[in-house]
Amino acid sequence: MEIPRETLVLMLELMLKIRHFELRVKDLFAAGEIPGFVHLYLGQEAVAAGVCATLNKDDYITSTHRGHGHIIAKGADVKYMMAELYGKATGYNKGKGGSQHIAWPGLGILGANGIVSGGIPIATGAAMSAKLRKSGQVAVAFFGDGASNEGAFHESLNLAAVFDLPVVYVCENNLYGVGTRQTRVRKVENVADRAAAYGMPGQTVDGNDVLAVYRAAREAVDRARAGAGPTLIECQTYRWRTHFEGEPDTYRPPEEVEAWMRREPIAPYRQYLIEQGILSTREAEEIEQHVIVQVNDAVEFARNSPFPAPETALEDLWA
């Protein structure tokens, strides 16, 4: 599969943007600047970048509680994301959603979702909508290994298969549903094995290899767009951090965390691009500096933005 140069570079840029955004959010949250809870995407960057690099601007995604990566990869401006995390009026959703509930239909982002599996039927419905409207759009549902044990997952996959819907189900298997290791709560070896039960292709890929993710997603998205139906892709990956920031890591062996952090997705890919002559070291450095500036600007934008007027809490309920 030939991957265009700009796509190869884009995937590096997206991964770096997610990485630097999340590192900043980690520190800002620890410093008490960001209220509430945050669930960081650190370590899983290759999944969002590899999948979203195959999508058009008007294709749909649904995301999860750990959604910052998907939203950045789908093209969101980190300024308005950061402002949303700060609860500011300038955020994508006027401070009403926060970290777990960012949506922007103009980029096909139908929402991060605080309910595990909550986005899966919504993506399936968006795919039905695209099919009936003959719009050529594809929907992608991102979710974790935990969501694959929810009824919404099983019902949606059956429905999508029955109606040959243009949807791709992307399971980010990071081994743990909150604090429970997946092998304790699932009998089949791979989440992707479950695809067979619904009559759709299923594939398990290395979720820390952005090229492997891209290839699997490219095939699935093309298939969906051609009207050949849904696909389940399981991306094996790992979150560097605990389920949410501030949670004590009592359930993961430290050597497991260290081993996965050594297998992180960005540095090897950057090295690969340089070795292949796709980027020079300097160009790669410039890309990284560029995203750091964007993230810094986003923090300043968020800090300097006004909080919403309290009475705006009563707006936006009804259409």
Binding site: Y60, N93, L110, I115, G118, I122, G125, M128, R133, A319
Partner: protein, 325 residues
């Protein structure tokens, strides 16, 4: 004026909206060639075909959730649940998704979905096919909840519900489906959130909705023979609630009986009583009386069910009570 049944009114409203707007589509269990368990989609499959009239597997969470996703992306799905009792299965998609998506996302999208579902008892259908869950959903900000009592209201309100840009739960009482009433051939709609005085009167106000409107009208007719003038206010929509219509009638009659088929505790009737207590207590000449189901699951045996659900005699007794006070 011609008369049609409540279920025919539902079919007509849906068909007219499907002809008017190509983004309107219908899905649910047995709603295709089968025509719907209560006949409310009869003929739609033949006219609009399998692309817009879609038979679903028994996967309420899946296909109601799909309705939410489709509504957020340019369709106006009318989703039918075969029995409203099963609304517990897709409740997350209604309570945590559909009702909140617009608000939580700062108004950047909307979810114009209609969920149609049969409610109610008096059919010896027991605890899992007789429920009326409107109070639970009226509690949720962001959902509209409609319960028509006549074919005329059903048609006009369903057309409004389909055109509404919010999620509307449209509950149809099973005992009403075969009832007939005048429905004009020409186009009309009825605004959501407006009550209707089904019988004007001066001595007592009865606030009711859905099948209880018929029972209240029958009771009012009987009381009229004794010279008691009952005004029957049909809420038609329990969220949003037409507070003005309730208060205007209560201020006129100064006596209030609330009749609802569902349970008493934390219910629509409790809300109506609270509104009157807050805004019109000084007008009341007697304490408010509520006629409701008793707070137990709906039992099977007709003897038990009739004991639990409100009867015409209970309404008459309630009216006499507020008049005696």
């Amino acid at each position: 004026m011609r008369e049609i049944s409540f279920s025919q009114a539902i079919v007509e409203a849906t068909a007219e909206e499907m002809r008017r707007d190509p983004t309107v589509c219908v899905w649910g269990l047995d709603i295709g060639p089968y025509g719907g368990a209560f006949g409310c989609t009869r003929g739609l499959y033949e006219e609009f075909g399998p692309e817009r009239v879609i038979d679903m597997p028994i996967s309420e969470l899946g296909y109601v959730g799909m309705g939410v996703g489709a509504a957020a992306t340019g369709l106006r799905p009318v989703v039918e649940l075969q029995f409203s009792d099963w609304i517990t299965l897709p409740s997350d998609t209604l309570i945590n998704q559909a009702s909140k998506m617009r608000y939580m996302f700062g108004g950047v999208l909307s979810v114009p979905m209609v969920l149609r579902a049969p409610v109610g008892g008096y059919l010896a259908a027991a605890g899992q096919h007789s429920n009326s869950f409107e109070s639970m959903f009226a509690h949720i900000p962001g959902l509209k909840v409609v319960l028509p009592s006549t074919p005329y209201d059903a048609k006009g309100l369903l057309k409004s519900a389909i055109r509404d840009n919010n999620t509307v739960l449209f509950f149809e009482h099973k005992k009403l489906y075969e009832t007939k009433g005048p429905v004009p051939e020409e186009e009309y709609t009825i605004p959501i959130g407006k009550a209707d005085i089904k019988r004007p009167g001066t001595d007592v106000t009865i606030v009711a909705y859905a099948f209880m409107v018929r029972k209240s009208l029958a009771a009012a007719e009987q009381l009229a023979q004794e010279g008691i003038s009952v005004e029957v206010v049909d809420l038609r929509t329990v969220s949003p609630l037409d507070e003005e219509a309730i208060l205007t009638s209560v201020k006129k009659t100064q006596r209030l009986v609330i009749v609802q088929e569902t349970w008493r505790r934390c219910s629509v009737g409790a809300e109506v009583a609270a509104i009157v207590a807050e805004q019109a207590l000084d007008y009341l000449d007697a304490p408010v009386v509520r006629v409701t189901a008793k707070d137990v699951p709906i039992p099977f045996s007709p003897v038990l069910e009739n004991y639990v659900l409100p009867q015409e005699a209970d309404i008459i007794a309630a009216v006499r009570r507020v008049l005696r006070a």
